[in-house]
Amino acid sequence: MTYLAKFRVWRGDDKGGDLADYKVDVNEGEVVLDIIHRLQATQSGDLAVRWNCKAGKCGSCSAEINGRPRLLCMTRMSTFTEEETITVTPMRAFPVIRDLVTDVSFNYRKAREVPSFAPPANLKPGEYRMQQVDVERSQEFRKCIECFLCQNTCHVVRDHEENKQAFSGPRFLMRIAELDMHPLDTADRQHQAQDEHGLGMCNITKCCTEVCPEHIKITDNALIPMKERVVDRKYDPLVWLGSKIGRRS
């Protein structure tokens, strides 16, 4: 069953651009990325789009569909009516390179700023066996495909370009939480999270969780627990007192 869909796709680069109108065939079972590929093949050979696996696992085809941050390959055309005009734009939190392709190097820079796993210095490879209950919290965070939709939708940087230096975004605060919850990690992640990665700027409005294609509970399981751990270290006098008299770690 084929129908002619109305699409508006943002075309342009960092100097300017606009939404361009297209009419394009849609077949049963297709996703938005299929339609973008058909546009490339039939009407607009120079349309730039970043994609790779087409299976929701590489995190390449992040964009905004009708204003909502989504993966192009995981958005079924059957979720729209045939009369609807579907608008596709690049992610609006990052500088655009061309058409639907953005420069996400902000995220790679923030990733490098997170110190890696720091086990005790005297621990030899193979000396430690982890139990399932100790790894399952961080296993959830390891599902991240780094599509950066959470970074894109987070209003702290999306709506405030000037915050990009001070705030690492939900994806990398989740990475810090993952490391902090690791039984063997010895680094001071709490102070890092608050002082160097801007955890205090997060006001837990949960948009990162809403857009995550892997359904990771970023806010409830990473950001809020990390905020509570920061409170332990920085704002809770009872925990501070407990640590001084040797009753709390």
């Binding site: 204003g67 909502r68 139990q131 509570e228």
Partner: protein, 280 residues
């Protein structure tokens, strides 16, 4: 501006920051969302405002807060420890002289209850979105030129949520005591009425909301790095985690149950109808 320069700190200029920053895709609309993105915030704004108005009106009215015959005490006036309270409602004694008009009888706990809800991680999301448009909805540009989150006063006080949680636990104990007292018949012995059932539902929901708190989840076991070394706390954490996934629903349910409990007691106390008795 080149791509590499894009995330250098820049002084925000109204109309040229956020999604309209130089270098980003040039789209004038604050959002291209086609769904009713404003509905959730509008609903939250309306319901929370109505609840605050109701709770304020009822707490300052100093009226119809107690049904002496069955010992139904409204949660909005508990504990009643001022000389202005009905003597039968003063189970915890008389700590204060007569209150002037408009001063809530439960003044001693209301700041803590208010603080617990205001600093609650769920309510923060709700009112940041609905009352402060920060953001109004996901992927909808907020109207503010600058943003510092919870890094400065007053919002840095949100970090005190765990202390409000400790007080909320104590207040839940008081509510539980009020419930036990409400199992009273008209002759002074044991009895159950519709008011008792409503108070029971309210107290169960209040406990569930309080225990599902993110600070409780952290204190009970979330702060640990090594679950396998603390199996009992891990079990407790698992239980609280299950409750925690319902924190939003419990937050709203308790607002409803508090309102219904108070309204029922007010109506019975005011003589609008009599309590439906199940036992005595």
């Amino acid at each position: 501006m080149s791509r590499i320069e894009a995330d250098r700190p820049v002084k925000p200029v109204k109309g040229q920051t956020g999604v309209r920053s130089p270098g980003r895709a040039n789209i004038a609309a604050r959002t291209l969302r086609t769904d009713k993105w404003w509905f959730q915030s509008a609903l939250t704004f309306t319901l929370l405002s109505l609840w605050v108005l109701y709770a304020t009106a009822r707490t300052v009215s100093q009226r119809a807060y107690f049904v002496e015959k069955y010992h139904y005490l409204s949660p909005f006036s508990s504990p009643c420890v001022t000389a202005s309270c009905n003597p039968a409602a003063r189970d915890f004694g008389t700590w204060f002289p007569h209150f002037p008009p408009f001063l809530p009888y439960a003044l001693i706990v209301l700041p803590f209850l208010l603080g617990f809800r205001l600093t609650c991680y769920y309510y923060r999301k709700a009112y940041y979105r609905a009352f402060w448009s920060s953001p109004p909805a996901c992927a909808v540009a907020e109207p503010h030129t600058t943003y510092s989150g919870e890094t400065r006063f007053p919002l840095i006080v949100q970090n005190a949520h765990r202390y409000f949680f400790y007080f909320a636990m104590l207040i839940s104990l008081i509510n539980t005591y009020d419930l036990i007292r409400a199992f009273r018949g008209g002759n002074g012995g044991f009895g159950i009425g519709l008011g008792t059932i409503i108070m029971l539902i309210n107290v169960v929901l209040l406990w569930a909301y309080t225990l599902s708190c993110h600070s409780c989840r952290h204190a009970i076991g979330g702060r640990l790095k090594h679950f396998s070394a603390h199996p009992v706390r891990y079990k407790a954490w698992t239980f609280v985690t299950k409750l925690n996934t319902r924190h939003m629903q419990l937050a709203w349910s308790t607002l409803a149950s508090l309102t219904i409990t108070d309204a029922y007691i007010a109506l019975v106390s005011g003589g609008v109808f009599s309590d439906l008795r199940i036992i005595h």
